[in-house]
Symmetry: C2
Subunit: 388 residues, 2 copies
């Protein structure tokens, strides 16, 4: 299996882009990543696109061919991959595999979601189709109410508090305030977060991620080629994909996501690094509780200790393991199919040391984690700077 590196990374500013055409977002990110990589677009051999619901948000399905065509790559093999909120992660993994196996030398991995096109109720309906509609849709199970069950159980079993949840949001807003690409670039005091109106117990308004539009992109190539053409190549040291049951009643428990455990196990095994080697990470904070559970499932803290770790400031910029320096899904935003690729973009910026005010000093090794549906799909990547 060949080694794979990242030679280009780009993301549009995350936000409400309802006044821009879908094409325009795609074009900006696609042309941006090609320029960033320094290669000519004719070197791109295939296009892998993560998108969740373009057919409902934008009347546009078949987003693989669409993106390729908009970028002048329409004659290349292209495909869309979908796995709810992990769609971008699946596209990255597919692109990685295609190079590792020798099928292609250089590929474009793309994520896009333009969600601010419907009324909020319709948007929530569309999002809830990433769960088991037949068995659970009729019982009002959706992202918020489903993950709320995890939060309530985690609070019950481990003494996790509303304050701990709030600190996840407060920290990620703080990080987002330093990220010019974030949807919300404003510090919000913990008090306001804790006093916000409750949406679904125990989640208040600020415990939830944003409805965000963005396009995100990276270019992957062989490590060998990356070394020859890039000044700051980033090596994909390890990658893993895990799955878990889609239907809530079939879950092992309510305080962990086994898909994360499996993806992390694979990624760390492939990378040959330890948890302590990770300098910075982006993980899937679709709700505040999710970030806490992720840190446990990824193996950075013991089960049940994620809340305390957060409360103690360890996951904050300047802490021992900065988490979601981009602002995460909470503040950078959650353009569903684009999120998994956008996390990689943020980590590339950190490893290149171009993250400005939110730079983690001497970041050498980074991790990304994205989770789709009711914890059903997970992709974990471990990235490392491959230059001095």
């Amino acid at each position: 299996m060949r080694e794979v590196s990242i030679i280009g990374a780009y993301e549009t500013v995350h936000g409400n882009h309802s006044k821009r055409m879908l094409r325009d977002l795609v074009s900006e990110a696609g042309n941006g990543v090609i320029q960033d990589s320094g290669i000519d677009r004719k070197e791109i051999q295939a296009v892998f696109v993560g998108n969740y619901a373009g057919q409902e948000f934008n009347n546009q399905n078949t987003m693989g061919s669409y993106v390729a065509t908009v970028l002048g790559l329409g004659d290349r093999p292209a495909m869309k991959l979908e796995g709810a909120c992990a769609s971008g992660g699946l596209a990255f993994k597919a692109g990685f595999d295609a190079i590792a196996s020798g099928a292609y030398d250089t590929v474009l991995v793309f994520g896009v979601e333009k969600m601010n096109t419907k009324d909020p109720t319709t948007t929530m309906e569309i999002v809830s189709r990433g769960q088991d509609s037949e068995f659970e849709g009729g019982f009002c199970v959706s992202g918020p109410s489903g993950f709320a069950l995890n939060a309530i159980r985690h609070m019950h079993e481990f003494g996790t508090t509303r304050e701990m949840l709030g600190v996840v949001a407060e920290k990620n807003y703080f990080h987002g305030s330093k990220n010019p690409f974030a949807h919300k670039q404003k510090v919000i005091p913990l008090k306001n977060i804790l006093n916000a109106r409750i949406v679904t117990t125990p989640f208040g308004f600020h415990d939830m991620s944003l409805v965000t539009d963005a396009a995100t992109a990276v270019i992957l190539t062989t490590r060998e080629k990356a070394k020859s053409i890039s000044k700051k190549p980033i090596l994909v040291k390890g990658t893993g994909q895990g799955g878990d049951y889609f239907t809530l009643s079939m879950k092992r428990d309510s305080v962990s996501f086994p898909a994360t455990e499996k993806a992390a196990f694979q990624a760390f095994k492939m990378a040959g690094v330890d948890r302590k080697d990770i300098d910075v990470l982006e993980c899937h904070d679709c709700f505040t509780i999710t970030e806490i559970i992720n840190l446990e499932d990824l193996g950075f803290v013991e089960k049940g200790k994620g809340g305390g770790f957060t409360l103690d400031g360890h996951s904050r910029l300047g802490g021992k393991l900065p988490v979601n320096t981009s602002g995460g899904l909470k503040a950078k935003g959650h353009p569903i199919g684009a999120t998994g690729v956008g996390q990689v973009v943020e980590m590339v910026y950190q490893l290149r040391e171009t993250s400005g005010e939110r730079q983690v000093k001497n970041a050498r090794t980074a991790l990304t984690h994205v989770l789709g549906g009711p914890g059903a799909v997970c992709v974990v990547n471990i990235l490392q700077r491959d230059f001095e």
Copy 2:
């Protein structure tokens, strides 16, 4: 790269299954293919699902995790692949690549579409999202009107006639009449086909494929493992994927699909066989003209000669190259995301010589071809019996 074989194949009867739950169709095909393969489901390591628009037809997105969960495989990595009418082909290719690269030893490749859930106008709207909605949706470009442009130009340049188009339909209805899995199992005389009401010039009602519900599945494993557990393993000798521009105005011409040429070139190169070695094939007859163009693009006849080849009966059962013995998209039906996998199922049955009345004698080598969107996505597979 490891060699890959098919050890299991199953498809539900194609038709209008609006009275069955989506789960029920999925369960039938999934459990059917596992039984056919003779393996235990615990040996399946990953699930690749082709589906076009479950989120609109069935309120169910994230079909990879859904299918895996319904089949008791929820803890395996799963993903949905989408490329319009070629979605099932992309799932097959992804499953093949995963085994060839060594990532997995045994995988389930699944296709599903349950389309008969909306009124016909809404169904057509959903289907038309597999084209460039921003640029062309407003001009009433859809499958029928888009492919009609190909037909008109092909008639103009090469003298292809309405009768030649009609013979494609008449032949495929005839084949479908011998297939107990087909949506339409009835012979329709050429005269009726030619006199049917015009839908969009030059297509009459019978020039178009059906709105069909079905689930289709195959199990892939290494050639080595297949030899040890299967009495009738089918080797995947070659596979290829081609892409082409999504937007009609960017096409090279209107009488060919370059995505097919590229996919066929790759598949034949990998397989190391000639056109004359192919004993039987399934190709994408979404409209009658498409089958004619496909035979040309695949290299079986010269450009412009596909209509005459059909009129002369060469592609009929008993002819020198039987095409769409299943009845094709015309008579077996076109459950969009399931079609690419269903074609493989039909060819497995032919190579195993279990096709009953529609059996092609001594079928040794077969080909499948599926085309998505406005000729934008193509997957070609070459299959060969690997037993005596």
